[in-house]
Symmetry: D2
Subunit: 114 residues, 4 copies
């Protein structure tokens, strides 16, 4: 029934796949290759995907297809999960944090973060 | 039963809350205030959160608490959802894209993206 | 005579001013205030200015005034100088590096950087 | 005499070289190749260099050589000049903007920018 839940559990599945590739040979997958190159390379990719998200969002304002924005955000979240995985953290940790904030209004939340 | 699904459906709930605040008075919430300022302000915040994610990840390598990284990724995803919402897109679109890629190895995927 | 040189020596003057404000009371200037907040705040601002540069450049492609791009690059370079100043480095160090690369073709240079 | 001025005029020389490569065959230089790929590729590189600057600055705080920061800022400024060149703008425009701001205190300047 719950196609929604199924659709959403994808994030944790991606996190699990990333974790399983952490020790693997660099030649076997993109994720294994990133981990073999180290944290700075992972973060450089994350920054690159954030820039591409901004470019795609501005492009959509100028009439470019908004599907590009969806793809860039997917890339950005994917590389966020790789950065989290570097510290043995996963999607669940981020989702728990978002849940913790739920109900807190944005202004109150921002004030709380200082 | 499915605490996992419950935990993960948070992303779509956040997306829905963001959508509900789109037309609201700027004074009523952080999200409404961002939308009233326009796309460039939203993207500027997104870039800022990406930078803070990189800073937190490097900080964790130097012994700072890795919880900071979780919080920054949560901020980054939250502002990604606001950018998506600007175009009436939501978490579901990104999760669908990630699901579509599942099973594709990273290297094949990267080659496919060109 | 050399208006060019005069115009360009501005970068080192800005670096010198930044250095002079490093130890100053946080209330006395924007730079002193940034230094009092520490490296992460400085880098966060630098990332923010880079994002704003990207936004302005995409905006110019959509017909927004290209003067905004000039202002954002000025902001970006200014905050780069603050980050350098944190480590007692200045504009001269960057200009020396650019001079060192001169004559090296981009492709050779890139290959050399690995 | 003025080694300072000589050292600093490098920025305009780099801008001029970039301008001269704008129409050139993509195979002849890194800059020509970037221009042939278009604005989004140029901006993606700029965002990447900004991220690398942040990574190098955090690395220096953890004991990595601060020379890496100088190299990354040089890369960042170089790609800023390529983005400016895309709109037929150059280092001179940015230096003029920085000069215009000189004498304005940071706090006043920030207030003026809104």
């Amino acid at each position: 029934m719950s196609t929604q839940s199924t659709a959403e559990s994808i994030l944790q599945r991606v996190s699990d796949t990333i974790a399983s590739r952490k020790g693997a040979d660099a030649g076997t997958s993109y994720v294994a290759s990133l981990y073999s190159k180290g944290l700075d390379t992972i973060l450089k990719k994350l920054g690159e995907e954030a820039t591409e998200t901004v470019i795609a969002a501005k492009g959509a304002a100028a009439g470019e297809p908004k599907e590009a924005l969806v793809k860039e955000v997917a890339d950005l979240w994917f590389h966020s999960l790789i950065a989290l995985g570097y510290y043995n953290l996963s999607a669940a940790d981020v989702l728990r944090e978002l849940e913790r904030r739920e109900g807190t209004s944005g202004h109150a939340e921002k004030a709380a973060r200082g």
